[in-house]
């Protein structure tokens, strides 16, 4: 039986990827951020997952405004790295897990989550930066990846509560997959940041800290945060944190926090990282 063993919440700031790609992680600006990533890499290497479900948003890379899927799952064998306007990141292409991905697609749709299914798509920094953060710079990614995209670019994104329920449905789907697989799930984006308008640069440390605390203390309370509250308190792009609820919903109710790291700034953003383990899988 497949089982979800752990969850990873991780910001996906493009500049973090650029810093790694250009070898800047030891500079005074970046060193404090990357120092805090080291325990996560050790932890994940020891967990040895077979597959990662990465919940992220596409940033006008695979999808434009021509077609805006609210929830999408990638079922391909392989996902190339997108050119987002400055050439593709120099990181390995992502290998998919079509058998589990198709099982997820079928299970989720029959469980009343109307997924869009992608047989071909490039993946952008929303997916590759969290992989870089948690795996470093390997010649090939150490596990298969199932991309799961959530629209947060065109308002409105799905609600936090809906995202949490999608996570619960993912859990049911993984639990019913007959092959023995160790699965981790990433919820990416956030934390507080605003990239646009006169209010660009907004950071809300107390909001972010409460959010991190409540991922274990009261995750259901977090699912009731409205989009306007996210935008007002955590910046217009802080609403990306709805994607963390997909990850959280896929874990046990009493999942435990094993590590967190929070750093300001990563470019315009408060970078957050949390590692969570399912007691049931230990």
């Amino acid at each position: 039986m497949a089982k979800i063993i752990a969850g990873i919440a991780c910001s996906h700031v493009p500049a973090i990827g650029v810093a790694m790609d250009k070898g800047l992680t030891g500079t005074p600006y970046w060193q404090p951020l990357f120092k805090g990533y080291e325990p996560a890499r050790d932890w994940l290497a020891k967990l040895k997952p077979d597959v990662a479900i990465v919940v992220y948003n596409d940033h006008a890379s695979a999808f434009s405004l021509e077609l805006i899927p609210t929830f999408l799952i990638g079922v391909a064998e392989k996902f190339p790295i997108a050119d987002e306007g400055f050439g593709p990141r120099p990181v390995p292409a992502v290998q998919g897990h079509p058998a589990l991905a198709w099982h997820l697609a079928e299970s989720l749709i029959l469980d009343e989550f109307d997924m869009t299914i992608a047989n071909e798509m490039p993946v952008d920094h929303g997916l590759t930066v969290p992989l870089s953060v948690t795996c470093g710079q390997p010649a090939a990614w150490p596990f298969k990846v199932i991309p799961l995209c959530v629209n947060v670019v065109q308002y409105p994104p799905p609600t936090g509560a809906r995202c949490y329920k999608l996570g619960q449905a993912i859990r049911r789907a993984v639990d019913s997959f007959p092959e023995s697989l160790r699965v981790v799930i990433y919820g990416t984006g956030g934390m507080s940041h605003q990239l646009q308008g006169e209010r660009a640069g907004l950071i809300n440390r107390s909001f972010d800290t409460a959010f991190l605390d409540n991922l274990t203390r009261d995750p259901l309370a977090l699912t009731r945060i409205s989009h306007t509250e996210y935008m007002r308190e955590a910046g217009s792009e802080g609403v990306e944190m709805v994607m963390w609820h997909v990850m959280r919903g896929a874990l046990d109710a009493d999942a435990t926090e094993v590590y967190r790291h929070y750093h300001v700034p990563a470019s315009n953003t408060a970078a957050g990282l949390m590692l969570l383990e399912n007691r049931s899988a230990v």
Binding site: S64, Y155, L195, G201, V264
Partner: protein
Amino acid sequence: MTKDYDSIPGTYVYDAERGRVGYALNMFCMSLNKAENRTRFKSDEAAYLDTFPLSAEQRRTVLERDWLGMLKVGGNIYYTIKIAFCDGLTFQDVAGMMSGVPKETYAQMMLAGGRSPEGNRFKETGASAGAPKVAAAVAVKIAE
């Protein structure tokens, strides 16, 4: 139609209304994901823009790199940033320009912990609220 998020100062939510206005502008930006289109745009910006049905004002904001102006005519930051990438600018460069302060001032604000939400939550209180919590030297008040 009024929306509860309209009360947030200095923020342009890319909703249905902006989506209807900004589609062509953003799809022009999307075309810059292809290297050959970036080359075409850079070699003759006006001629390249002619191939997209932009309004005169949208066209002006692009040619003048009026980043804040683009948002006001339906630009979505994840799309308009692709023009900045063509120019060799970063997200932080553009964020500084949109908030109307010199690059160094913006960078210092971020290093000092970012723009505080204090006084920046509601348009009504934005101008009259107490000093933002960021250090006074880098505090950036929002002028609405």
